[in-house]
């Protein structure tokens, strides 16, 4: 053995570690840079602005103003009221509905589940506009019907009010609670309920002592999600609260950017949203991840369904009445408004018209531009976001590099940044040199990419987890290399997950309003912004046409995703 060939073990190990570190460091730092651009910079500027005055000197004056100025304090109190009401109302309606669908012999249970998913994908601002058409004090269809029937001069409903706002937001957050609770019910092994039965507990007793306690964490999680939605939505309050003359935090933040802009105050008002969201999401993950709730698996059949007997039809009617609120009524109103001379027009041939269609697609200059912008952004965000999520989920699922836990955290972190907060942050960060992206589609791409990354990542991470590493190892041991295994085994197994992630991002972008409203310019308007603008000018017919087009795109993509992934499971979308 010559001296040259002797390599000490420690040197060899050092070389190996260095070699291993080099590649992973590169990957990690690239991912870190990207995530800093997406999250760190906007959030950093948000803090900077919130803690400085116009001249850049550090100050707490912004927060003092937030607490003392009635014009700022009122919106916060209103938002709190709104959040608590929605957090109670949404799960209170959704939980019994979920139980009826999962545990009783209610007719058409599958259809009802599918319809709840449909109200899930309705953009909340579109729902708010539809309810304007239905229940605006003067022109609302329902109010006109009411006046016609009773001769009363007063409207039955006034959607431009805090109760109206609570109602509309609850309509479109209840599906979140419904999905959480019905999934929790589906996961309770039938044995747990049967065991109570054989020990002498009647059906209702079993429901109260076994079923309900087991889904309490899911109900609470649903309440938290509803709270968050009510707090961070921009579209619904902007459409319903502003005409009524009151603000929520999100509309106030938006107003603070109107002339004369007060970015410092806006940043200070956005920070509480960020903090509360982070805290509530942590509480939620604790609720859903409690370890005590794991149960030994055994073969356990379908749960025995509770026979509603004489209540079967009344219960179905009640469910249909509830579904009418987020679905049947608003959708009918939108369709009718799209082809009527005015929304409340009688349903007769003379009152029907194609003028809105003609206006939107032929005359209105912004339509084409907005469609083009929306499609370009949706396609590019979906593609880039899916690729990024695929890359990160591969690294984390297979623990290919050290530090993959950090990557996982960074990829899920944007979930805690409300759209409007991100919009403010991105505006502050990129409206200045050297990265003056404001006014281009790039800043919208950054915003959408950040907002949608967590959903895509979670989808792909669970897909990766479903592919057991032994499936890959079986291929390796039979002689296929790493790449061949990826192509022949892993990729085909992940295909449906990838398609689903792509579709979810696409839909999420099409319906996004909160961040877009902070970042658009006249050249970079997207569909949701155009609809919001049209609402300001009161052109409900044109909105109905655009909204219907948006819904058709959404349902086509949802249908495609469901067809690819088998069942309509785990649709994760953020409210616009």
């Amino acid at each position: 053995m010559t001296a040259e060939t002797i390599v000490t073990p420690s040197a060899a190990r050092r070389a190996r570690i260095l070699g291993g570190f080099d590649a992973s460091l590169l990957v990690l730092s690239a991912a870190a840079v990207l995530l800093v651009l997406l999250i760190g910079l906007p959030v950093g500027w948000l803090f900077y602005y919130a803690l400085t005055d116009r001249t850049g000197a550090p100050t707490l004056a912004n927060f003092v103003a937030l607490a003392s100025d009635p014009a700022l304090r009122e919106p916060m109190l209103t938002t709190l009221t709104l959040c608590f009401c929605v957090a109670i109302a949404a799960p209170a309606v959704a939980s019994p509905l979920a139980w009826l669908v999962a545990r009783t012999d209610l007719p058409a249970r599958r259809t009802i589940r599918a319809l709840m998913t449909a109200s899930f994908v309705t953009p909340p601002f579109l729902g708010a506009i539809a309810w304007e058409i239905l229940a605006a004090p003067n022109s609302g269809i329902l109010n006109q019907l009411w006046r016609g029937l009773t001769g009363s001069p007063d409207p039955l409903l006034d959607i431009y009010s805090l109760p109206g706002l609570v109602f509309v937001i609850s309509c479109y957050t209840a599906p979140f609670a419904f999905v959480l609770v019905s999934n929790a019910l589906d996961r309770i092994p039938a044995d747990l309920e049967d065991a109570a039965g054989i020990l002498g507990a009647g059906r209702w007793r079993t429901v109260l002592t076994i079923t309900v306690p087991l889904v309490v964490p899911a109900i609470l999680a649903g309440a938290l999600i509803a709270f968050l939605q009510a707090m961070t939505l921009f579209g619904s309050p902007a459409i319903l609260a502003l005409p009524a003359g009151f603000h929520t935090i999100t509309t106030k933040i938006f107003a603070l950017f109107q002339f004369p802009p007060k970015p410092q105050l806006a940043a200070a008002a956005a920070l509480p949203l960020l903090v509360v969201t982070v805290v509530l999401l942590m509480v939620q993950s604790r609720l859903l991840g409690r370890r005590g709730y794991t149960v030994v698996s055994g073969k356990s059949g379908d749960p025995r369904l509770i026979r509603l007997g004489a209540f079967r039809i009344p219960a179905l009617l009640l469910v249909l009445a509830i579904l009418a609120l987020p679905l049947f009524l608003p959708y009918t109103a939108l369709l009718k408004a799209a082809i009527s001379t005015y929304p409340g027009a009688p349903f007769v041939p003379e009152a029907m018209t194609l003028k809105h269609l003609r206006f939107v697609f032929l005359e209105f200059s912004q339509t084409q531009k907005a469609f083009w912008n929306t499609v370009v952004l949706a396609l590019s965000t979906a593609t880039l976001g899916t690729l990024l999520a695929l890359f990160i989920s591969y690294l984390t699922a297979r623990r290919a590099i050290p530090g993959s836990k950090t990557l996982e955290f960074l990829a899920t972190a944007p979930v805690a940044i409300p759209g409007i907060v991100l919009g403010v942050g991105l505006f502050l960060a990129y409206a200045r040199p050297p990265l003056a992206l404001y006014g281009t589609l790039w800043i919208l791409l950054l915003a959408f990419l950040t907002i949608e990354l967590p959903a895509a990542f979670q989808q792909l991470r669970s897909s990766f987890r479903a592919v057991h590493p032994e499936l890959e190892e079986a291929s390796r041991i039979l002689g296929a290399g790493r790449l061949k295994t990826l192509a022949r085994i892993t990729a085909p197994l992940l295909k449906s997950g990838v398609v689903a992630a792509w579709c979810f991002v696409f839909i999420g972008v099409v319906r996004e309003l909160s961040a877009a409203i902070m970042l658009f310019t006249s050249d970079t308007k997207v569909l949701s912004v155009v609809i919001y603008d049209l609402n300001e000018s009161g052109d409900l017919g044109a909105i109905a046409v655009l909204g219907t087009a948006m819904l058709l795109i959404t349902f086509a993509v949802v249908g495609f995703a469901n067809w690819i992934t088998g069942v309509g499971s785990g649709v994760r979308l953020r409210g616009g």
């Binding site: 044995d191 049967d194 065991a195 005590g292 709730y293 030994v296 025995r304």
Partner: protein, 353 residues
């Protein structure tokens, strides 16, 4: 304690009989095992008894009262039974003590009685120290005991067990087999026990009921079923057995191709297709043909495997049929050797039909 009676019990799903006209009487205080492969209908039978499933035919009587018949089933909660589930079904949101107390609370017992009986029962299953734990904090064996305690504490008329040991590891399973028998001897509840494991059935049961394709193949004590199987299925399912098929020559002789074999008891109908069974360890193997009588055949050793306490031999008969024999471990016969096998007439059990 109650007397359980199944009369012509059937359950059809979409026209398929999962349980097919079962007649079974379980005397009060007896432990009956329903034994069979998966899909034989044993669990459905148990769920029929519990009242989770309504029968499509036949009736279930307890102490002379009809509990189930087509279109009618007393709900499970009114049957006064208990059940232990394969998954244990311990409620994860209640402590062990709360789980055990649940059935007593439903019976509106005074608080003091409840805590006394829960304490006694937990002591009986050796869980006294873990009363305040949650099920998620227990080992598999402890969860099993907690499930037993919860089921026994209400002093049920009838105790039902659905594959209660299948989630335990082998050593624990053997321990719990004896534990269940011990508790049964102590409390003597009428018990129906479902399993696919013959050792479990033989350890615990007063009466074993072998099921296949939704029907009862044979019912009897462990010894009866083992030594006098009435069908090829029962002979094969309980302990290994050679099944030799052929045509009956007369009431006691069967032509199996390689030879005409004689049974000790007469059961065949001359000229009909039939078979006989003989267990692996009842086949005698001799190196030479001297002596003996009755069913003596020439054979060739195809394979021999040393298994410690015995030697497993595969033997090819003149017509190519291969039978297996468990020989003493010191009988080392190389493969391809010609040997003589003895199939003692009193061990050849006729299986008519």
């Amino acid at each position: 304690m109650a007397h359980l009676d199944l009369r012509g019990l059937s359950k059809h799903y979409d026209g398929n009989a999962v349980v097919d006209r079962i007649d079974l009487a379980v005397p009060a205080g007896n432990l009956v095992c329903l034994l069979g492969p998966s899909g034989c209908g044993k669990t459905t039978t148990l769920r029929l008894i519990a009242g989770f499933v309504e029968p499509t035919g036949g009736e279930i009587h307890v102490d002379g009262k009809v509990l189930s018949s087509p279109g009618f089933a007393t709900p499970p909660e009114q049957r006064g039974m208990s059940m232990i589930f394969q998954s244990y079904a311990l409620w994860p949101h209640m402590t062990v003590a709360d789980n055990v107390a649940y059935g007593l609370t439903l019976r509106r017992l005074p608080k003091a009685d409840i805590s006394r009986r829960v304490g006694e029962m937990l002591a009986a299953v050796k869980l006294g120290a873990l009363a305040d734990r949650y099920p998620g904090e227990l080992s598999g064996g402890q969860q099993q005991r907690a499930a037993l305690a919860r089921a026994l504490v209400i002093e049920p008329n009838i105790l039902l067990l659905d594959e209660p040991l299948s989630n335990l590891d082998a050593a624990l399973r053997e321990e719990m087999r004896f534990e269940i028998r011990r508790l049964h001897d102590a409390f003597r509840y009428t018990t129906v026990y479902v399993t696919h494991d013959q050792a479990e059935a033989m350890t615990t049961a007063d009466l074993i009921v072998v099921m296949n394709h939704g029907r009862i193949e044979q019912a009897g004590t462990a010894e009866e079923i083992y030594s006098r199987p009435r069908s090829a299925f029962v002979a094969g399912f309980l302990g290994g057995a050679n099944i030799l098929k052929g045509r009956a020559v007369d009431a006691i002789r069967l032509d199996v191709g390689a030879a005409v074999l004689r049974c000790a008891e007469s059961a065949f109908v001359a000229g009909s297709e039939a078979s006989l069974s003989i267990r692996f360890h009842e086949v005698r193997v001799h190196a030479n043909g001297g002596g003996g009588g009755g069913n003596r055949l020439e054979a060739r050793v195809v394979r021999q495997t040393f298994l410690g306490s015995l030697r497993d031999l595969a033997l090819e008969l003149a017509d190519g049929t291969v039978i297996r024999a468990s020989a003493p471990p010191d009988l080392a016969i190389p493969a391809d050797t010609r040997v003589w096998v003895d199939l003692p007439t009193e061990r050849c059990r006729p299986l008519p039909s």
